[in-house]
Symmetry: C2
């Protein structure tokens, strides 16, 4: 059902129908009523493509997620979706699978007028390769975008991140306050800046307290065979605490510690960056640093929509929002 068809049935012009449906004061109450009734009857919905073409805005936001199976990003997406829907925006979701090439393709693909703006976390490969030209192209094209969680220093745009250094520091400090002496760190996402920052926080707390860093207590590795590596790590060091800075190894570490007959938290205390859902899979449940992905997502989305709606850059650009982590102690069965 189109305006044209409605107009014909009502014996009025297309523009009258259009104006009536948009509650124009140019149109008589009576006509408005007639038009709206017929429109409702035929379930008329204005055509999205025509609207987008006419108004040069799509009311659509592109979201590029490195890995939707990562619970952090899934939750961030929930936050983005909620905020977008609230403001009458749809979201087009692309998955970069941590690949630079796919990320570039996605951006190319989305800059054909599909979306008014973009929200994304940078793919791991992009960070490793230090490539940012595809983002700079967005700046040239004047397409607003917001980076969240994994951001690039040299791209001048709005960003939403968590206070990773602070988080690492806080977690380590909480171990120290419990009287822990040999605090290990597991880092299997060292490519990412967030990991470096969290580790920095850890190191700061350690040095502050013990005066020096024991490199042997830092397990920097890949996720392959992580089980075996953690087992060795536990066997070779008399750890009484572990900080796992990604969002799965904490749970794995707990399970391995138990298999090695450690008593938790008596012998060893473990904190992970996992969210509470994943933490629930562990027994005893893991203490976690909640990086609040849904808040990050909704904040990023809010920021983007702000840019889109106030059609020129205000003095706050580029805006960096830092979200604080929350430490939440795991419950128990």
């Amino acid at each position: 059902m189109t305006l044209k068809q409605l107009a014909k049935k009502l014996n009025v012009s297309i523009s009258t129908v259009s104006k009536a449906l948009n509650d124009s004061h140019e149109i008589s109450k009576d006509t408005i009523k007639r038009v709206k009734e017929l429109a409702a009857l035929y379930n008329y919905v204005p055509n999205k493509s025509a609207l987008s073409l006419k108004q040069s805005k799509t009311k659509t936001i592109g979201v590029i997620v490195p890995n939707i199976l990562n619970h952090f990003f899934a939750k961030a997406l929930v936050g983005i979706e909620k905020e977008a829907t609230k403001n009458g925006y749809q979201i087009i979701v692309c998955l970069s699978n941590e690949s630079l090439k796919k990320e570039q393709d996605n951006i190319q693909w989305l800059t054909n007028g599909s979306v008014d703006g973009l929200i994304f976390a940078v793919a791991e490969e992009t960070i490793v390769e230090r490539e940012s030209s595809h983002f700079k192209k967005l700046l040239d094209l004047n397409i607003p975008f917001v980076m969240f969680d994994r951001v690039l220093e040299d791209v001048k745009t709005d960003k939403v991140i968590i206070n990773d250094t602070e988080a690492g520091y806080k977690a380590t400090k909480s171990f120290i306050n419990q009287g822990r002496k040999k605090i290990g760190l597991i880092n299997c996402i060292d490519n990412l800046n967030v990991a470096k920052l969290r580790q920095t926080g850890y190191e700061k707390a350690i040095i502050e307290t013990f005066g020096e860093l024991n490199q042997k207590l830092i397990l920097k590795t890949s996720i392959n065979n992580i089980q075996d590596k953690i087992k060795m790590f536990l066997n070779e060091n008399e750890l009484d605490a572990i900080l796992a800075i990604d969002n799965v190894t904490g749970v794995i570490a707990i399970n391995i510690a138990k298999s090695l007959k450690f008593s938790i938290p008596k012998d060893i205390s473990i904190i992970g960056f996992a969210d509470s859902l994943i933490a629930r899979y562990a027994y005893p449940t893991l203490t976690t640093l909640d990086s609040r992905p849904d808040l990050i997502g909704s904040t990023a989305c809010k920021q983007l929509i702000h840019r889109l709606d106030s059609n020129q850059l205000d003095s706050t650009f580029p805006k960096l929002t830092v979200i604080d982590t929350k430490i939440s102690s795991g419950g128990s069965f």
Copy 2:
């Protein structure tokens, strides 16, 4: 950059540029070359809205997911996205959050010409309320759609599901073959048809073997306080096996069994419907029935695109595809 602007710069007409870019044989090789070069120089990309409007197709698929934090749906989305991208389609993602209202809103929202077709799993509330009028409206509007995993009997459309009865049967049989005698079932998603089917498979295997069903061995409950309930369930029955038919309680059951000093799998054997990633969070890792969400997703997407591309219904409509589950024994640390 638009065709118009390119045409002006090249001193040719808009239609010549359009044809050149589309490799029309009407246009001379030389002109094609000139046009393409300039287009490349200015990074010309055809406007999506204009294209959609003109061709009345958007090359976009709407996906409605009940809950993206559920790993099953996240994986299904990965499958959908992969297949869509492969075929030059974008996906618009909506989350129904298991709510009927949101599902209806999403569908209303997507039928404004945003998408050529839809893929979705039905929200839990929709199943409970037995509401399907919003889907029937899609049929009226002639918008192709595919339901996956959670489907509605009375809606005549393409569907992709897993063989849930068979899965429940297979899992139970594997317990029986191990010599297990008291096989419990945990069902906290009874609202969903998939749960009923899985339970049917369980019951079939039990009756076939033992002649009768012991209702006490079936824990049908909600997810609230699931830990306590499982604890009681284990304490009150001398179970030697548990089949958990949703995708998280298997892991929880393992953790609780361990806390109750059960030896796994000696004293008790546990199978869940979780996927391998979640299963990894348990120690010893859970044996799982893989319901192959990515395959389901890509199959559903393939089926939809087939309908979209062959613009009329062929004799295979409506097509029901049944995906077999795979039983995969958990590794160990």
